[in-house]
Symmetry: C2
Subunit: 472 residues, 2 copies
């Protein structure tokens, strides 16, 4: 029997895809990475996943786990050899349990993020992980990449929202760490090791996640500020004034909003963009009521305006107005596409250094590539910038050829500021080869030791995160 | 040269202790564990720690790292062979940096927890880790054991409060993971693997920790409730009403408070203890002001009383009254000592199951050991109970001999409720031998693989957490 036939026996013929049926799963959604595979399998449950892994172990065949295929670094796309099995989690899409007294929800890895958000809301709770692809990404992928999003400033990233995991190991065993406990000091933190390991240490098959009380009122405001230093100052003032009610703090350059205005005319922009060089979009989640939220927002933002740290503010008065403000922020990546080819950097910098980082890095780029456009926005509350670079006007041709040199300038600058070259998107294939240039080498050596210990035959998503060449 | 002489050369003669000088570091503070050591060394900095580790690697000599010697499971006490080096971190007691714009503090491992709290307060920030031994425990020990404490319901445990670590590996290399980033998805989560590993995977030498805005007002209240089910219900009501302002939620049985009243007469107890079988001590941290805190507390607790879920409430009106209420809670362990020998269990249970757990486990214990006393209190907001058992009146003699059988009854019950046999104190020596009875065996096998990968000669705190016998 061949592996293909063995797989058919384990998961059923109709759930082993090849040829045209398999094609959609061999390319990432942005079309940046394309690979080949021996088969695409769709196991029904954790036992079938364990069976598939044991088979692949037997045939020493790579396994690439894929959720909603919404990753940004090619972590879920197979390589070019055609020797891999792509394992889809989308049939594991059950919500296993909701426990409102424990404030937990237990879900299978293939659940769509939005489904989990909705299930939480239906029982009067909030599951706060929120990101652009929430309608199609799976929680398994969110956990494998330790996804971030827009509410990290208050609730943390995917790792912080997770209490327990079920994982299939490289040996095809099922680790039952699916506990709903907020404290458990019985040994090493396997949970957090699997989270963020991008399918290279184990396959996450289910998770127990934290729920929070649903806020009684949400307020959104757009603040005009004079520079990034002021934004950092505003963050401090708002953290003091709103405490843990501050659930969103997004920095946006006027260039980003101007791009939205020019290229996406249906997006409502109810202000004169060029009156301020920078904006901050903030969100408050209030557990009391609408009146309290209104009063607090007026008081805290009013103070910030009086102190001169905020120049002007638009406070959304209705849910529609709030959605409109968020829609501007969410439209930036689409406006970027219209502006032309861009070179993106998902980076993190200590918040206190963000202003100096932007100033110095912009200058370095202008010196080397005069006229490039700076498309800077991101989750300043977490020090996470989307520091993107657009071609100078009329010089689109060949711009992407500059990517490598440009990345070096940006990432070298990130390193000087003790930052991270991947804040929330992970490493995948995209940054695997440059990781050794920026990661502490002792840390990298520890990662390789762990990889070798947990996956000695390197069958789990080989060539992602850690370069296979370095591994053995 | 001998190891002893080599150590003297590396850290200086006066910092290598033996004989009587070494004695205090060979017994844990409660006197439960006593061991022997070749030497007790006090390196001055991370480089000297790395040197010590390389020496011990060369001589294949065990290293037991010790902070404030306040652990509860013997994790920092050497074994009986006398072949180990005890490494004290207390000379690494510098606060390296405070960054208020980034809301981080970077400290050496030997810093006393209270010193860090005070340093944060001096710059208008809160470092929320808070526990009974804060005046003498070190942050290194807090991280090695992933300490919990009284504010976990809002701020999480030590792991949740940490952004970056510096660690000396088993090879005596220095891993520089001392970053102040809230997002960093560049590879495996080494940080959280070292946190909670009790010195068996590496030696934590410094950490970058999160700071929070200092609350403007803190309110404390003691609520009388009719049973544990009601306490779980109250938790839900208060989480809804206070949101993230709820920073403490401690369940206390009236038996505990009555013990304090009887045995510690200087502790003020401004109410009739026996009027209610259970109490909940709550704390609110308000970022607005005193008036808002007062109004909110009155509103939310008033509602809970109207709904009948809370029978009665004492709301502290002054800081002194608040301290008095906390003093009752903090006096329980001392009253326990006066009551007589007790058998302690630091456990976690899903919050929704706590009531059933207590009822069933109490019944099992009464059946087997009629008349034992139930001393139950703990951090219900995290599902963490200190489920302690006292001797029946007048039957102290030989009570501790029942410990093993009693532990089995309690821990078997914990397992049936998907709980944890160590919520916040760790494993150390105390629970090492029973861990395999309660931990998923796939999880244990993964732990052993990681231990072997990172510390192949088992020189880092051998015989703690994982039984050495099982390891090789």
């Amino acid at each position: 029997m061949s592996l293909f036939e063995d797989l058919q026996q384990v998961v059923g013929e109709e759930f082993v895809l090849s040829g045209e049926e398999a094609t959609p799963f061999l390319t990432d959604w942005r079309g940046r990475f394309t690979g080949k595979a021996l088969a695409v399998v769709r196991p029904a449950n954790v036992e079938e996943i364990a069976d598939v892994v044991r088979l692949c172990q037997q045939y020493v065949t790579p396994i690439v786990t894929q959720g909603g295929n919404t990753g940004l670094c090619g972590g879920a796309t197979p390589g070019n050899k055609g020797d891999a099995v792509v394992l889809l989690t989308n049939r594991l899409n059950n919500i296993i349990a909701i426990d409102t007294d424990n404030d937990t929800i237990t879900v299978e890895a293939g659940c769509i993020l939005q489904t989990i958000q909705t299930a939480a809301e239906e029982v009067g709770r909030l599951f706060p992980l929120s990101l652009a692809s929430e309608g199609s990404c799976t929680i398994g992928g969110n956990l494998a990449t330790n996804a971030g999003g827009t509410q990290v400033v208050r609730y943390g990233n995917a790792r912080d929202l997770t209490l327990g995991l079920q994982v299939v190991t490289a040996e095809g065993e099922i680790w039952n760490g699916l506990k709903g406990l907020r404290k458990d000091n019985t040994g090493y933190d396997l949970r957090d090791l699997f989270i963020g390991s991008e399918g290279t240490l184990g396959i996450i098959t289910a998770a127990t996640l934290k729920l929070f009380p649903k806020p009684q009122a949400i307020r959104t405001a757009l603040l005009a500020i004079k520079d990034v230093d002021a934004a950092v100052h505003v963050l401090s003032v708002l953290k003091q004034g709103f405490g843990s009610l501050l659930t969103g703090f997004e920095l946006i350059s006027s260039f980003c909003i101007e791009s939205v205005r020019q290229h996406l005319p249906t997006v409502k922009i109810p202000f004169e963009v060029n009156k301020s060089p920078w904006y901050v979009l903030i969100e408050i989640s209030d557990h009391e009521d609408q009146d309290h939220a209104n009063q607090l927002v007026e008081k805290v933002i009013g103070n910030a305006i009086e102190q001169g740290v905020v120049q002007d503010a638009i406070i959304a008065q209705t849910v529609q107005q709030s959605n409109d403000l968020w829609h501007i922020r969410e439209s930036i990546p689409f406006a970027e596409i219209k502006v032309g080819k861009g070179i993106k950097h998902d980076i993190a910098i200590p918040i206190s250094q963000v202003s100096a980082f932007i100033e110095q890095t912009n200058a370095l780029l202008q010196e080397r590539f005069p006229g490039v456009q700076h498309i800077v926005f991101g989750h300043l509350g977490d020090g996470n910038l989307h520091y993107n670079v657009g071609a100078p006007d009329g010089q689109e041709e060949g711009f992407l050829d500059l990517q490598k040199e440009m990345n070096t300038i940006v990432y070298d600058s990130v390193a000087r500021f003790d930052g991270s070259i991947s804040a929330e998107h992970g490493i995948g294939q995209l940054k695997k080869d440059i990781l050794p240039d920026y990661k502490d080498e002792i840390g990298l050596a520890l990662m390789r030791k762990i990889k070798r210990a947990l996956d000695p035959n390197a069958i789990l998503n080989p060539g992602k995160v850690i370069s296979s060449v370095e591994l053995y």
